[in-house]
């Protein structure tokens, strides 16, 4: 069996190897771990405002629910029974993070043996 030319330029090998190694290092190394000071500042901010912010939006323009479900338990524009109704709210179209509506009735109480009460989601 005859083989075609197998000589690859070394720079290509080196480039592919370097790229793969760099990508591996990036995904395996935890990045942007906050320093001690930054960690304190971040916690300080959240304590100051009483815990604020949860979703992938920075203002209350379209729905408070996608900003923080503590401010609104569901999105007013979600039309679940309609096909694709979830995406009628601009804050829910392709955003980085999404979560189901918070139903207050889902917060039910069950007694666990010996431990008292626990809050669970149905």
């Amino acid at each position: 069996m005859a083989m075609p030319n197998q000589r690859l330029p070394r720079c290509v090998w080196f480039g592919v190897l370097l790229t793969t190694m760099a990508a591996t290092v990036i995904v395996l190394t935890p990045i942007r771990q906050p320093s001690g000071d930054l960690d304190v500042r971040r916690t300080e901010f959240q304590t100051l405002v009483g815990g604020l912010g949860f979703g992938a939006t920075v203002d209350l323009a379209h729905c408070a629910f996608s900003f923080d479900p503590r401010l609104q338990s569901s999105c007013d524009r979600l039309e679940g029974p309609l096909a694709g109704g979830y995406f009628l709210c601009p804050n829910h179209v392709g955003r980085a993070i999404g979560y189901p509506a918070l139903d207050p009735t889902d917060f039910h109480i069950s007694a666990a043996a010996g431990e008292g009460d626990h809050a669970t989601m149905r």
Binding site: V27, Q46, G50
Partner: protein
């Protein structure tokens, strides 16, 4: 084994033999994988920040509703909540929305009682607001940028209150790296926020902290409170209690939901990707057929030809995925998600003024390699097989 290695080496050579086809395939994969990796990275970053928001917040959030709509609660509810067994503190809070300036910049006004402020904070450049003749605020970085506000800047009255309006002074700006959600914030004392919204004596919600183990009992007690416990609300009020645990469950559920959203995106991208790669392979089909015909004529078997194509695809997909990770990292880290961060985080400017939270993790990277491989195989393996099963003479024609 040696034969397999030799065949695999020719797969590597094939990439350089057709640089245009390889380059086009690589570019198509980059166009698909980079937005995916950026989105997943940003989602992970937000998840971390959300977890911190839960940890540092209260145990329970008490709000009111009437006729199914959320309503503010009277601040007199605070002492009534604090006497419940297991409750440590019940802090009233105002969170409201307004817009400022000619461009109607979105603002989130947050008001907390001044006596609940810590003595000193490091998350603010400047100082914390005080109650006084002037309304004092600490503003978020994006708000400061959009409205050109510095510490010491004055804002003319921007609200209506029957008791009169006051000038406001900016006494601080939040540090840009403390949180994603500080960017549009206007933070003041509870009294100032109540004046802004002309809602004296009312609170959006109560942030309740409990003794360990009392959360559920307190929640049940609050939910059992009824209208007579809420004077001044003018009718039946139902108390809604949101617990930290409930939100923690929501966060875990949100991860699944998030993947659902990405799956939908990825189906679209996947379809486009297959078309792109098929077109790319189709363009070089005559050349590929001739090449395969020559290989068959020199004694290659069909499985060897397919193995050669497989190695070519694996290398292309691994290389493209690795390059995608590098591009995503550089885009988020050094360009701070310019243009793309606004796609995944609503309300963010084209060039975000806050550090976009992100973390690239192994699972999305592995998925990127796998899906890249599926796309390239779908595009090229079928055409290779079709060319390999015909007689060499016909393939070379």
């Amino acid at each position: 084994m040696r034969r397999c290695v030799e065949v695999a080496k020719t797969g590597l050579t094939a990439i350089l033999l057709h640089p245009v086809r390889s380059g086009a395939t690589c570019c198509a994969l980059l166009a698909i994988l980079v937005p995916y990796l950026v989105g997943m990275g940003v989602a992970k970053g937000i998840e971390h920040d959300a977890a911190r928001s839960l940890e540092a917040g209260g145990d329970l959030y008490v709000s009111g509703s009437r006729l199914g709509q959320r309503i503010p609660l009277p601040v007199e509810m605070g002492p009534r909540l604090e006497v419940l067994e297991g409750v440590q503190t019940a802090m009233p809070r105002i969170v409201g929305r307004l817009s400022l300036g000619r461009d109607k910049v979105e603002v989130i006004v947050v008001g907390i009682p001044a006596e609940d402020f810590p003595a000193k904070v490091t998350c603010v450049e400047g100082r914390l607001p005080r109650n006084g003749a002037l309304n004092e605020f600490v503003v978020g970085t994006e708000l400061a940028r959009r409205l050109n506000l510095q510490v010491g800047a004055m804002l003319p009255p921007f609200y209506r209150n029957p008791r009169g309006e006051h000038v406001s002074r900016i006494v601080g700006i939040f540090a840009s790296d403390v949180s994603l959600w500080q960017s549009h914030l206007m933070f003041g004392t509870f009294d100032t926020a109540a004046e802004i919204f002309a809602a004296e004596g009312m609170a959006t919600d109560f942030v309740v902290t409990c003794q360990p183990g009392y959360e559920v009992a307190v929640s049940r007690a609050i939910q059992n409170m009824n209208v007579e416990a809420a004077p001044g609300t003018g009718g039946n009020v139902r108390f809604r209690v949101t617990s930290r645990e409930q939100l923690a469950v929501l966060l875990a559920g949100g991860q699944l939901h998030r993947e659902g959203i990405f799956n939908l995106h990825f189906v679209l991208v996947f379809v486009i990707g297959i078309l792109v790669v098929q077109v790319t392979s189709g363009l070089g089909l005559a050349e590929r057929r001739r090449e395969i015909g020559i290989l068959k004529a020199t004694g290659w078997q069909t499985d060897e030809i397919l193995f050669r194509g497989l190695i070519e695809c694996i290398l292309l997909s691994v290389g493209s995925a690795a390059l995608s990770i590098l591009v995503a990292f550089v885009w988020l880290r050094w360009f701070n998600g310019y243009l793309i961060a606004g796609v995944f985080i609503s309300g963010l400017a084209r060039a975000p003024s806050i550090p976009v939270p992100f973390q690239l993790t192994p699972v999305p990277a592995f998925l990127a390699v796998t899906l890249g491989l599926v796309i390239t195989l779908t595009g090229s393996l079928w055409s290779s097989w079709r060319a390999a099963i015909v007689p060499p003479g016909e393939a070379m024609r």
